[in-house]
Amino acid sequence: MNVLRVENLRFAYDREPVLQGVNLEVDAHEFVAVIGPNGGGKSTLLKLIMGELLPDEGSITVLGKSPRQAREAIGYVPQNTNVNLDFPIRVLDVVMMGNPKQHREAANWWERLFPVRYNSVEKRCAYTTLQKVGMEAYLDRRIGELSGGQRQRVMIARALCAHPKLLILDEPTSSIDIEGQKQIYALLKELSRDLTVLVVSHDLSVITEYADKAVYINRSSYTHDLRRSPIHLQQPEGEHFCEIELMQMLAEKTCDCEHHAGKKEKH
């Protein structure tokens, strides 16, 4: 069974569709990179996969269920830029965030009286999750004191704390230095041994070095299996130039797909 299956998806905010004829299959333990131009529908696709929006046509299933039914199985890491650095909050609070119902169910009556405190089980869970991302030494540090890369590791730990089967990351390395980006992707690659990772990124190294599949989204979709035919960038001089070149190549393949799909429909 696919972890994620998107079939002939169509979605429009108004009349003009943002996504049309999008197909995607993601198997367990795959590391999938979603790329495409701004306004191409990447963020909309993420919202649909997470159940925040409903498709107009087609279907999305996560572990065989609708996205809303599978909500507990989806972990989400937002863009690095969305964090309020002045917010008085510790790493421990961020990692444990979003599980109040589970806390009430698991806690005894005394612990339920003091939801502000974390019990030993919760602290251990936070510690072991932070260990996975190499941030266990920062448990009591204020989040605003951390670097961009460290904050993003904490956000990944927060998503992992809910034990997801599918981890979705929206441009996790924006505003992080190159070394930090490499570390984050290496970490995600390692995590994909235990779960499935879907990452939206503008960083090409994720496609050339880490991902198993690249999904190009620009209204419709094209999936490129990087394990069968890896992409090697031939122009190391300018990253921007390389990105455009790669996008053009994938866009041409997307057009071919649309052309074939159109022919099939006619037949």
Partner: protein, 267 residues
Amino acid sequence: MEILHYTFMQNALIAGILVSLVAGIIGSLIVVNRLVFLTGGVAHSSYGGIGMAIYFGLPIFLGASLFTVAVALLLAWLTFKKRHLSDTYIGLIWAVGMAIGVIFVDLTPGYNTDLMSYLFGSILAVQHSDLWFMGALLAVVLFTVHHWYRELLAISYDSDYAALRGIPTGRFYTLLLILSALTVVVAIKVVGLILVLALMTIPTHIASHRSSTLYGMMMLSALFAAFFTLAGLWLSYRYDLTSGACIILAAAAGLVLESLWRLSQKG
């Protein structure tokens, strides 16, 4: 110490402390949720409730509470999904609420009460019944914040993530606005509807630099607010000045001193 023998002064002190504790706790939530302007709109529109209560011969607290809670519900409904339009709605409700108050006071035959007391507070005129209302609100605020601390923390820090984890963000947003509205109503007696925002934000701003958790910020902010209120009351009694203005200036002086101290530590 002879001032403590007067009943009106005893009431003023108790009212000051009760309202400061509520303002410190709710003020922290308002600041971290970036709802200061919205609360300003609710505070000023409460004048509509005061005017209507005077016209219909209702207790001022009751009239103002019902009106401001209705305004808070309306604003919650209007702004939850359309945050980008918040400014327009807030400005509208701010002005319309005050206009309603002015018209109803105009229509009240023979009405000649000092309206300045509602704008700038009249803590020395606090009655026993007012204290019960303030005490009840403090109890409600303490219970709500304590019991749903984890939910409030999650929606304040990252409402998108909270929604993804199944926390009903809309309900908590509405609850927060209702509590803000009631806080405004009780604070009108102490500092007046024009100065209420300062009591909710200055102690919070100071506390935000000295706490690493939201809970700590709320507690510290409540203590700072109580301290500034007592200092302002003493200044008001000693120099025969308007109490509400003295409280706010005491808080502002505290903010300046704290900022200078912080700057000296950095240097």
